[in-house]
Amino acid sequence: MRRFLPWLGMLAALLAGLGLQTQLYAGQERTASTVLMFVGLAVAWNLIGGYAGYACFGQVGFFGLGGYAAAVLMIHLHLWFWLALPLAALIAGVFAVAIGAPLLRLKGHYFAVATLGVAEGLRELTTNLPDLTGGGAGITIPTVGSDAPTRWLGNDGFYLLFLLLAIGTVVVAVAVSASRAGYALRAIHQDEDAAAAVGVNTTVAKTLVFGVSAALTGAVGAAYAFQQVTIFPERLFDVDITVLMVVMVILGGSGTVIGPVLGAVAVAFISEWLRQNYATVHTLLLGGLIIVAVVMLPQGFTNYLADAVRTRRFSLLDNVRRYRL
């Protein structure tokens, strides 16, 4: 029974998502689509950043690469969107494996900075290849008429697409978490030498999960590009997107399946609510909330809850003390 619990949960999430859609009006539906997009992104980042413990600060590079790959395939090769999306994911994944081979030898801050550099490099490259990508002026995917390889999906269509992508990434996360790969990644996270000593091929494990994480991120990027129709390097390679993914995973609880989902929903909704009600100081308030949350729950909400239930100590002050902040 326990084995089927996650899958039942996902079926319930799918039905709840479909049910919710009937209750939303257009503006709300777009916001909900964005929340679902961030669920997918956070869960994907968690694979490399949370499970393997390699904090990738260039994740938006794969998002932008996926988006631009899809756009270029649809515009220049007139590929159907439903073909461009998996191809974009594949391109992002293969790219991550290629850069992962050298970069995953770095650890901690060095890996973070190196990946940050890769994402910035991709943005510059995109800006400086105007024939292929439209450069800084952006590029527009044809969405209507005989020119369009696939018609624009509409608000309902994109809501459904992001819902399926979010559930798809969670399915991958559950599969990874419960399998041999999950054990290998958690071991690598804690101590790479010790993991290698018990037979874990650390190079293969972390390079593969980097590829999977990038491919999922690239798929979400492809969907976002099609939703936006016209895309710019500044939007698709916006470092804020990486920051949001990291914050969502850390607050929700890294290295768990459900943590990034909760983190993404909470941060995305709070951010949106603050933007609508305190437009001028919304970033300041969000930043303050994130600081308080990280101080109170350094291990993330789900990990705190699991610890608290096990030791029967629910005090947040105790929790702060335990992590010596």
């Binding site: 030498d193 290698a196 000593a197 091929n201």
Partner: protein
């Protein structure tokens, strides 16, 4: 003479100008335990790291079951049936004791097993080291002795043919040492080829078939425990020339 399970020839490691290990030869045989002693900084842990691929030797070879494995990555060495413990215990924090050991069972030489089968193997090795009752705890809540047991259980879950123990007795109370030695002895009786780095001399003397003394990275002497431990060069290496001279004088007086 049967083929050694693991053999090192002329194994050396330089860190810049420092010769950490220089020209070490050793053989590990099934059902035998080689004790390795030497003062701090003698190169004992470096030697283990060279044998397991955590460090690449500057010169020399490592042969496992007749196959040259010099410079192979640690997981390849592990797949070849060589397990180790670390001097500074390396538990996977954030995973339960059982999950810690399950990693070894999943990725050991018989790898490719399902998670369920690996958990059964892990429980068996926890049972063997006497840690089964603490299977669901996080490693942070273990005592020093139990943390050492966990380190050993992780290595045993690989179902190794060669086991390298790096100071598994360090930090144990006297009453905890004897059961640990019994366990090590039972592993030898099971036919494992063992290498044990240790500072507790009476422990080394009790379980070693042969003792190798490292000093400044080189083999000072090898032989049976009693002979090695009374060798004046060994006393000198541990305690300095002045103490060795006094010990020699005392010995001379006893003979007279």
């Amino acid at each position: 003479m049967t083929m050694p399970r693991l053999e090192a020839k002329g194994l050396s490691k330089r860190f810049g100008g420092l010769q950490a290990v220089g020209g070490v030869d050793l053989q590990l045989h099934a059902g035998k335990l080689l004790g390795v002693i030497g003062p701090n900084g003698a190169g004992k842990s470096t030697l283990i790291n060279l044998l397991t691929g955590h460090l690449k030797p500057s010169t020399g070879t490592v042969v496992i079951d007749g196959k040259d494995m010099t410079g192979a990555r640690p997981w390849r060495i592990a797949h070849a049936g060589v397990a180790r413990t670390f001097q500074i215990v390396k538990p996977f924090r954030g995973m339960t004791v059982l999950d810690n050991v399950t990693v070894g069972a999943l990725f050991g030489p018989g790898g490719g097993r399902t998670v369920a089968a690996a958990r059964r193997t892990a429980l068996e090795s926890l049972d063997r080291v006497g840690l089964a009752a603490r299977a669901d705890l996080p490693p942070a809540e273990l005592s020093v002795a139990d943390a050492r047991r966990l380190e050993l259980a992780k290595a045993l879950a690989l179902q190794p043919r060669v086991l390298l123990l790096d100071e598994v007795l360090a930090g144990l109370r006297p009453v905890e040492i004897d059961p640990a030695l019994e366990l090590i002895d039972s592993l030898r009786k099971d036919g494992l080829a063992l290498l044990m780095v240790e500072h507790v001399m009476h422990a080394i003397a009790a379980v070693s078939d042969e003792v190798l003394v490292l000093h400044h990275g080189e083999v000072l002497t090898t032989g049976r425990a009693e002979a090695v431990l009374s060798d004046s060069r060994v006393i000198e290496a541990y305690l300095g020339t002045r103490y060795a001279a006094r010990a020699a004088a005392a010995q001379a007086r006893r003979k007279a």
